[in-house]
Symmetry: C4
Subunit: 241 residues, 4 copies
């Protein structure tokens, strides 16, 4: 009877969904730790030159994680008020995707799908009551949505025009590097975002003068959206008070 | 009679100019799709190693696009209230430039002019009612025009002084790279915009110390205008309410 | 008697703690100059190809600095109202760490610990009455703390997802460069911060298209916190008035 | 008599100092054009592989410019109310420095001093009535002076600590690149400003992890001042109304 009482559906529901209770908080923390552990094993598996022992250890940890995630998935189905709506919900799909590949194929490498598990990390915000900051960000984004779209569109045109321009200036001098407008797009992207890997850069006088004008006009267009979000966030924060 | 009624000048005028009506909206969308298609074919034509079949296909698409743009141009002249003022207007010139090169020369490569067609993309904003965002941007720009000019001018002086300085520090050590003040300008541009391709960089102690001071002072001058536009945009948005 | 009066505990306390008095100000400036001198000698010692004479000179300066710091430490203990609480305080620990390594080991190279002496530089702000600016910054930081944490967390997820993505696109083409997700993290960091050393960059079409999307989304996430601090600082400044 | 009237001291004074009159405006424009021409000749002279004819032409233009600047200097002395105070004023010194090197030494290359002529370009702002924007910038700068100093100081400490850190991580692996803390400072500068030339970058795991933390903390410190100036400028603009 005691066992039944402790593991009653109500208590389990609170465990899974109510992170305000101590046990629920621990459960949420455990799942989050498990997610991070699974990301680390996932990353470690990509390392070359792993010994057979190391591969076996990683596979073992992997198996344990999947079993625990499976138990969590079954538990969530069990405690759900409307089971079908959970299974076909966004998080229900994510939870299934985190375990399904392991069962379907050990030979096939479908582990990428487990990445979707990442979305569960968003629940961390609920724990730390970051929902306020998230909603403020959402309101700030709505506030600047139009400008963002406008700048995004203008940035795309800017990137395209820069590619076409540099193609005309550099194609003759560097036919290997600036083969086509599509190849030049890579230059436009790395230049206007100021990444500047150095794998492509103009060497003709015309190309350099063109880059001067592209940067003078383009830097603002690419960088302004960042400033827009920042000022919108401070504005929504001010409006709250 | 019915044909005449449907294709009356009034109806055609609404088709071309009034994107609020369903047909006008479809017409605008069709022209925009055509513009994007012509940009893609234009870009594809720059690809090296195209087969003869591919070149022929692209030329065919090209021809169809120009014919459609020609029909649109003639339609716009026909429905215009003041035909001459349309022909000599900005968009009239753009519309002509989008088709003229094709007729003038098949042998000559004047296709670049078609790029002006890009300006028509700005009409997209009207469709999505982005005019409000555009006008806000315009007011924000007027608000910061003086500072922008001031910073633009100071940025040019900064670029020039940096070039002269680095020329004196690096010319002896890297005569190939820092050949003249003009060559050094390219270094100043890629450094102050933080692109940093890595094709030119100081190697002397003096040049490195000089770069330190240039970056400390220069970064602000080059980056401030972006912040100015962002804050001006948020201010104009606040004033609207 | 006069000697006793001049070197009374009260006077010495004022000397050490009260930088408003002339002597106290001079004492503070002297200690700061000593800190900067010790940083310069520390840096000079890392230079290769030093002659034996130069090494001896640096060691001599080093010894004099440590003796002076020791005297200062003993003086601070002597004038402290609660000696133990000073010794076990943060600055007491720093003061000890600045001299201890020298006495413990001449052979062992523990000089790194002396770096903690750097924290004393923070006292400079008190002299120039920058405490107001520092406190404003502190209030501004508290104002945006939640957003900063949110963006910091999202930035980490962004970095991780970018690494995993580029690993899948580039691993086959550049197995040496993009060996694992961990190696790709270095690429993600230098790209999203727009540093772009050029030691790692995508060469496949897929990798370049992926980089386009990573930069479009990622730049904002990494750069917004800077804008947040700036606007929060201007807000707290406005609130003060 | 007419000659005397036209070239009276009053008229000449108006010519030199009052750019509101038509002649004064033309005089100012002429001097500015001359300054820009002298900058261009100065830059052209740095070009290698100039023919003897080209060198002679540049020297001729140079001589004419100096003669015109000398006439301007003498004119300014003649019309000055207090001649000595003009000669020993900032602009008086600049005006002298623009011509003196030419007379002192034709053999010696003291042409660098002519650079000070650049400061005269600042007068352009007066013409276009940009004084309002300049004064707003000045007020904005005063508003954020304390934070700027604070951030400047923290940025220097950040640069130094980053250099020391990377030196310890990379010195063993790349003794040629990271020779000393001073050599590492160059890396810290190009990394924290996100220039990233690619001439120095960490290759050890420790160095890369260290760079991660340096960038996470450092980017904000280096970039915040820009945001500060931008928000301060928008604030001062708002206060004006």
């Amino acid at each position: 009877m005691l066992f039944k009482k402790i593991f009653s559906k109500n208590n389990l529901h609170a465990l899974v969904h109510n992170s305000d209770t101590k046990l629920g908080h621990l459960f949420a923390l455990f799942i989050q730790a498990l997610i991070i552990l699974s990301l680390i094993t996932f990353s470690l598996e990509t390392l070359p030159n792993l010994s057979t022992t190391q591969r076996h250890s990683l596979h073992l940890i992997e198996t344990v994680i999947v079993i625990l995630f499976t138990l969590e998935y079954l538990l969530r189905i069990y405690v759900a008020d409307k089971r079908l709506s959970y299974i076909f919900s966004f998080y229900g799909f994510i939870d299934l995707m985190a375990i399904l590949p392991f069962y379907i194929a050990s030979g096939l490498d479908l582990r990428t799908v487990r990445l979707f598990r990442l979305f569960r990390l968003l629940r961390i915000f609920k724990l730390f009551k970051y929902s306020k900051a998230l909603q403020r960000f959402k309101r700030a984004f709505i506030l600047v949505k139009e400008e963002m779209l406008l700048f995004g569109f203008v940035a795309l045109i800017m990137l395209y025009l820069s590619s076409v321009g540099i193609y005309y200036f550099e194609n003759a001098a560097q036919p290997e590097q600036f083969q086509s407008v599509f190849h030049s797009l890579w230059w436009a992207l790395t230049t206007l975002t100021t990444v500047g890997y150095g794998d492509m850069y103009p060497i003709t006088v015309g190309g350099k003068v063109f880059t001067f004008f592209v940067l003078m006009v383009g830097l603002g267009i690419v960088a302004v959206p960042t400033g827009l979000i920042a000022t919108a966030l401070s504005q929504t924060r001010a409006e709250e008070k």
